[in-house]
């Protein structure tokens, strides 16, 4: 009799522990999901998609080609760090400063998709550098391959 009571108590204890463990695991997973950075590489984390419909061809090489931007954009390896070769943040480069131009594209107009769909969240593109305590642009490798004509050229 005593053995049966003890066994039932053990089973209840382990069930309670299992429920507690499950709840803890779920809450940790939820916290992790909330803290995770959806756009760790900045521009290229968001600008994906190469389907032929104009509004879905969201990858930067396709968008730049559509604007008539030179081939330099396609050859750039790290985005947007490599863009600063021409678009220097000091304003001394061959082309205009990148920052104000990118801000206007992403913040101007009430129907701007960056504002409407992504909440105009600065941390999609920027992060705080804990060494210098300056806000910097996130950067990542380009998400397209170089092409000559229709031939893809490996890096």
């Amino acid at each position: 009799m005593i053995t049966r009571i003890s066994r039932n108590r053990d089973r209840a204890f382990s069930t309670r522990n299992a429920v507690l463990f499950l709840l803890a695991a779920l809450s940790m997973a939820w916290t992790g999901a909330c803290l995770a950075d959806d756009y760790p590489d900045g521009c290229v984390s968001c600008h994906v998609g190469d389907t032929p419909k104009p509004k879905s061809a969201y990858r930067l090489d396709l968008q730049l080609a559509d604007l008539g931007h030179g081939k330099g954009g396609e050859r750039t390896k790290e985005i947007p760090t490599g863009c600063f070769r021409c678009h220097a943040s000091t304003g001394d480069g061959a082309a205009g400063k990148l920052g104000p131009y990118i801000h206007l594209i992403h913040f101007r107009g009430e129907k701007n998709p960056f504002l409407k769909k992504y909440g105009g969240d600065c941390s999609s593109c920027h992060q705080m550098d804990p060494n210098t305590w300056r806000a910097v642009a996130k950067s990542g490798p380009r998400n397209w391959e170089m092409t000559v004509g229709d031939t893809k050229i490996p890096d």
């Binding site: 104000p100 801000h103 969240d121 600065c122 941390s123 804990p130 210098t132 305590w133 300056r134 806000a135």
Partner: protein, 129 residues
């Protein structure tokens, strides 16, 4: 019965519009002084009070915050700049940092983009003390 239904319908619509207004409005239009107010719980969170606690000289003469802080704190003075100090206060030790944990570390509480020039700048507001 119909009247009650109409009243409920009107209340629901008003609630929706109210929520939409809240979602769109800038909760911190004046930057520092929009957040650092007299009462957050039982704490006087105004900047003059907080600065007095850390032994900062009196800031009674300032009129617009943080614009007038720039009289002494140059905005771009290397490691000791105002920018570096304010960023560190608001982002250091993120696990227990009030700005990160409670306000999501959102840049737009303090900064805004000028949609004419494209430059990101600071929000400003009159002192609240």
């Amino acid at each position: 019965m119909k009247d009650r239904f109409r009243v409920l319908w009107a209340a629901a619509l008003s609630g929706l519009f109210f929520c939409a207004g809240i979602a769109v409005a800038d909760e911190f239009p004046e930057g520092c002084v929009s957040c650092h107010v007299q009462k957050i719980g039982d704490v006087d969170f105004r900047l003059n009070t907080l600065l007095a606690q850390i032994g900062h000289r009196k800031v009674d003469r300032l009129k617009v915050i943080p614009r007038d802080c720039g009289r002494c704190h140059a905005s771009d003075d290397g490691e000791d700049s105002f920018t570096v100090m304010i960023h560190q206060i608001h982002f250091d030790v993120p696990n227990i940092n009030l700005f990160v944990q409670r306000y999501g570390g959102a840049c737009t509480h303090c900064h805004e983009v000028n949609t004419e020039s494209g430059e990101a700048g600071l929000k400003n507001g009159p002192k609240n003390w």
